[in-house]
């Protein structure tokens, strides 16, 4: 400790969230007894304007050089309080948080025990704070160019938006043609416009835009670097191309699920097809006369109503498992627990198209819940007016498909609304299958270290408030790579991704993480163990000494623990700082 610490402790009631369980005044009184603590008080909401101003003013008034806030989790609120410290003239890294909400008041009901634990947590934080040192966040330059991966509707929209804003865009598509999954569609709901009317102008614009470099038949081989400065290696027609970009938008899209052979007689009986295959027939004009068609919703989605639910979070290693699920033994796998969201409208769209072309056709849609959200309710109504038949089946008794005389199909099911079993003799059965995570998305996530959700879609940084950002700075999600969306929703997300990327590139610089490793050159003997262990290649041994490339180092600290000479330390997570907390976890050892 270089200077005599003057610690201020701010304990938050968080309304009743903390105050309802933890005796906050008691914690404050306790904090006051700790060495070096020159100020301790409580706020109703420390994160409110009043609370933040209080921190700012108290730093000045009491000449604080350490601030501890005992409130909620640092994962959401640390940045806010750091700014308040900065406004008070304190280096934001001289701030420490004690989590007495998520880790205390919310999980312990006994007020006395929770209060004791809160005191311990505060003491640990104060102890750690004594050892904190000011840190600087290095500024990084952001290249004003972007890589958009995927040339479907989302990729196109995102690329054009950025290009229109004046940024250079590299649009990479693995297929020979742009357009993605949407290209296979005939018409779009709810306006029933030809897909080409929407899609083609975007394709043309992207191809001809002076700020966009389109690379079709191109796959991403490798991406190195970090926000502002990604180095991209791609393979275009067997040739390697390379370029540097500041931001990346992942628009790898989704796949349409194909049921395993035999499931709902798919691939076994003629006339059983996926909804998308039916749409392709319509597109090609291969439906030539009125037919009886039955559509079955939720084939491969909403499967297994008792699947355990994990809120967020499989990381990319699970990708391998999910990948084998998609690519591997489809036959034995049952499908996906989620609702794919677009299938109801898609089925209705095709039903309307069929009925409008051949009013004598009979179209029946077998559903579990009809999810025509928002104004799509009108679309549902429109189909009913066209005498499309909507019947419910229940998950436990799925419709059965069998052969019927005269080259027909028989669909048998139980209609709970009537309490009757029913069978329909029909010409075609269309299976509405979900959008599922794409292989490319999963592999790319692995490359970029973007976590996947439990289903294998790319995971957003926060499902509510950061639905476009990923955990990796500078990489954003557009379209169905992050989960099923319809076209309008995909366009919204693509524009939003463009907005988020443009903010970084427009500002030209960004402050980065200060928490990196540093090597004490006097102690280092250049053994090279750190270089061997570092997953980011941030350690380079040269002339018998190791140095850290700060822009690459992500501050994990693996090298710190390994260094035989104890020559490496982790900024903001030094041994002294960690041990200060360890030593004060159960008893007071503040010195």
């Amino acid at each position: 400790m270089k200077d005599e610490p003057r610690v201020g402790v701010f304990v938050c009631h968080c309304g009743t969230n903390i105050g309802g369980v933890v005796d906050v005044p008691e914690v404050v009184e306790y904090a006051k007894t700790l060495p070096y603590v020159v100020y301790a008080d409580r706020n109703l909401y420390t994160c409110s304007e009043e609370g933040l101003n209080n921190i700012r003013d108290t730093i000045k008034e009491y000449n604080l050089n350490r601030v501890v806030v005992a409130s909620c989790t640092p994962r959401t609120h640390e940045p806010l309080f750091r700014v308040a410290c900065q406004e008070g003239g304190l280096n934001p890294y001289l701030f420490e948080m004690a989590n007495i909400r998520e880790h205390c008041s919310w999980v312990h009901h006994d007020s006395k025990e929770a209060t004791e634990k809160a005191k311990d947590i505060v003491r640990m934080a104060v102890a750690r704070s004594l050892w904190l040192e000011p840190q600087e966040e290095p500024e990084l330059e952001i290249k004003d160019s972007s890589l958009v991966i995927g040339g479907g509707i989302s990729g196109l929209v995102a690329a054009i938006s950025l290009a229109d804003q004046g940024f250079k865009v590299y649009l990479v598509e693995k297929e020979a043609e742009l357009g993605g999954l949407v290209r296979q569609l005939y018409k779009l709901y709810p306006t029933l416009e030809d897909t080409s009317e929407i899609l083609n102008p975007h394709i043309e614009e992207a191809k001809n835009h002076r700020n966009i470099e389109v690379h079709t038949s191109t796959t991403i081989k490798d991406i190195e670097g970090y926000v502002g400065n990604f180095h991209v290696t791609a393979i275009k027609n067997k040739e390697q191309i390379e370029f540097d970009v500041g931001t990346i938008i992942v628009a790898t899209g989704a796949w349409n699920y194909h049921p395993p052979e035999g499931n709902f007689q798919y691939g076994v009986l003629d006339g059983v097809m996926t909804q998308l295959e039916l749409e392709e027939l319509l597109k090609e004009g291969k439906l030539e006369r009125p037919e009886i068609i039955v559509m079955i919703q939720c084939v491969g989605s909403r499967v297994g109503e008792i699947w355990s639910y994990e809120l967020v979070g499989l990381f990319h290693s699970q990708a391998t498992r999910l990948l084998s699920k998609i690519l591997g033994a489809r036959g034995s796998e049952e499908g996906w627990a989620y609702c794919s969201k677009i299938c109801c409208m898609n089925a209705i769209k095709n039903a309307i198209l069929i009925k409008e072309q051949f009013p004598e056709s009979e179209v029946t849609i077998l559903y579990q819940d009809l999810r025509t959200y928002k104004e799509y309710e009108d679309f549902y109504r429109r189909a009913r007016k066209l005498e499309v038949r909507f019947l419910k089946y229940i998950y436990e008794i799925p419709p059965e498909i069998s052969e019927a005389p005269g080259n027909k199909l028989r669909v048998s099911f139980y209609d709970p609304f009537a309490g009757e079993e029913m069978s329909i003799i029909c010409d075609k059965v269309a299976l509405s299958t979900p959008l599922i995570p794409s292989k490319d998305g999963i592999l790319l996530a692995k490359k970029l270290k973007i976590p996947l959700d439990q289903n294998g879609f790319l995971m957003e940084a926060h499902v509510k408030l950061r639905p476009i950002d990923t955990q990796i700075e500078g990489i954003f999600l557009a379209g169905t790579a992050a989960g099923p969306k319809d076209i309008s929703e995909s366009i919204v997300s693509a524009k939003a991704a463009a907005a988020r990327a443009s903010i970084l590139m427009g500002n030209k610089v960004i402050k980065t993480e200060a928490l990196t490793a540093v090597v004490n050159q006097d102690l280092c003997i250049g053994c090279g163990l750190c270089e061997e262990l570092c997953p980011y290649g941030a350690h380079i041994v040269k002339d018998g000494k190791s140095t850290v490339i700060e822009a690459l180092c992500k501050g994990c600290g693996v090298c710190v623990v390994a260094c035989p000479q104890k020559a490496i330390s982790a900024k903001h997570y030094t041994d002294d700082q960690i041990l200060a907390a360890v030593k004060n976890a159960f008893t007071e050892q503040l010195t």
Binding site: L370, F417, A418, E421, S423, I424
Partner: protein, 173 residues
Amino acid sequence: MSKSEDTESRTHDSSHDTKLMHIVAHTPRGKGILDCIQCGRCTSSCPMARQTSRYNPRRLMEMITIGLKEEVLSNTPWYCLSCFTCVDKCPQGADVGEVIFAIRNIAAREGHIPPGIKAQGGNIIDTGKISNPTKSILKQRQEMGLPEIEPSDTEELLKILRKTGFDKIIGHK
């Protein structure tokens, strides 16, 4: 109905007339069938459905949709009180109480008419009224000083009802 009151499940195969929905939708007062989303609001508020499970307006709509013609045209629709509670409550404007009349009209053409209703039809053709006073009532009217009841112009009515085919529907000679 020959079946026990609450029995429901049976296996149908060829007994579905999948055109029934279309027919009902194109019969006067029947277009509501296409508006139904089976929410159950009608049955939830139907006073008759609370008396007996033989009558369930929502289920009746579904039975039309899946084409259980025989059942739909038998005595089921005649349970309806025509109180129009369902019409008022239906969020989709499916007007179940109205669709009932379409089904009854179809049923009547196919000869399913309860005797009481048939008698009403007969009375109209014969007297122009469905309810006629007894002699003692006529006497009482006089006593009370109420005006005499005028007979209806049955000839005129017969012309009308022949034109519409009403006489054939109720089998009037």
